[in-house]
Symmetry: C2
Amino acid sequence: MNSQSPQLLVVGSVAIDWIITPRAERKESVGGSATFFAMAASYLAQVRLVGVVGGDFPPAAVADLRAAGVDTSGLEVVEDGKTFRWKGQYHDNMNDRTTLETHLNCFEHFAPKLPPAYRESDYLFLANIQPRLQERVFEQMKPPRLVGLDTMNLWISIANDDLRSVLKHVDVLTLNDEEARQLSGEHNLVKAARAVQKLGPKNLVIKRGESGALLFDHDGSIFSAPALPLEEVVDPTGAGDSFAGGFMGYLARPGVEPNGASLRTAMIYGSVMASFCVEGFSYDRLVGLDAATIQRRFEAFSALTNFERASLV
Amino acid sequence: MNSQSPQLLVVGSVAIDWIITPRAERKESVGGSATFFAMAASYLAQVRLVGVVGGDFPPAAVADLRAAGVDTSGLEVVEDGKTFRWKGQYHDNMNDRTTLETHLNCFEHFAPKLPPAYRESDYLFLANIQPRLQERVFEQMKPPRLVGLDTMNLWISIANDDLRSVLKHVDVLTLNDEEARQLSGEHNLVKAARAVQKLGPKNLVIKRGESGALLFDHDGSIFSAPALPLEEVVDPTGAGDSFAGGFMGYLARPGVEPNGASLRTAMIYGSVMASFCVEGFSYDRLVGLDAATIQRRFEAFSALTNFERASLV
């Protein structure tokens, strides 16, 4: 893409994970919300990344991001620090997981600093980090055309006011179903979504793992995107961030205007990238894709959901 | 419908439930798999019902079925017996439930006897009863054009051989996700579906509650039907049977040939009828619908799933 293309900035974690699944295990698995987001979005848009890693972060992973066209000049390297590390175990159903260890390391003192060129990015995605740090990103930027934000149960619990403050700037919020319930205090997902929309985000995406994702639109309509039924899920880590990358990446394509129709198409590109993500450890499956392969999977989602209209009247 | 219309026979339970939800309770709630199926299918096809009730079964419920156009001449009434009774409690999420009491009563000795006219029914749905009794229904019939069957975890556990025997005659099997896993021994749903299809049913519908339903087709394709996100679920009892009623009812309409395309459309009519069912206790919401109301909801499913194609290539 050329320099005239819209720029999509992601701010989030870059991590080294230790993943245990019922069938396999991978230590030193490169992860982090910004990593998955950037790899997924890189096929659709011009991506810039802000994050922090330690001296232990593998240069090959930075090279992978660059090879994918991601601008990593905003990736801070703390040479004498260690990268954020997360160890988790997936259970039989590959949906539930247990966090075994979390070491924030240099991520603990992460204060996102945007390179000057990043301050005029057209699209912004604030991946899951402390709401206060998300707010600080805004303060450094010219208002983007569209802002997406992800968060987690921890911040809903311990930084609720900060989260509510940052949500006022957000156009599209992504949550999983439990987070939507927690944030709204409503068990019913439709009621939960309506309550969350009142906090600021006109559009809400509720991610439901192998049940797909729901878009609650600014105009009150609901869109249901299925998950692709896969014969083998290798590692679900990063699926939600890859979804967000495909979703925001589509919206940031030249010529795409964010509206009810494009948000729906974006939901499918999000689902497409999530479906690739879970087929491998880390971002293995997100490397070396091409437009034709991604498009074939987009068509698979069409085939999965398409039905002929009939009428009783 | 006139007598030239295809005939859809359902054999299953007719029950009196005692339903407890987090918000309300109803004793003497008319239920049973055949009841929900018949009420839902009655808007789409010519339905005949075989079941058994005791002298305590409310005549008003039989009148409701007849008013819906259901032929109840196959409903056996054991005047000195009691109707099958089930008491269940739904938990906060309205998906999980606990069975508090089951009294088979006259259902314990149910032996389906088909009135002579029923033996040439074009379409047959064997709702959830003992596999041996399902087999006996076949023995009384001229082979129907299409056979659907539902079962439950209990029969997979204690009557597995009988179930496998009856499955050889089945064109469309409906199961929930846990039953599909139990029957196949596979956790992954795609693998589970492929294994179940090898047992006989060329087409498999996996019901997933508020996550919708998946159709694994005879030609290897997969169709995902969403559940309609509802602001209020009053009572989920009978949702799966109402789904089956809408599904089979559509297939049994004059001029509809069972094939890959019509099975998909049938999945949506099934989802439509399930969405009505859960909006009220018992079959309250399935009474007094009309074609236009049903069709509007069908269109709501179109709106829920429709997206514009885009291309990266």
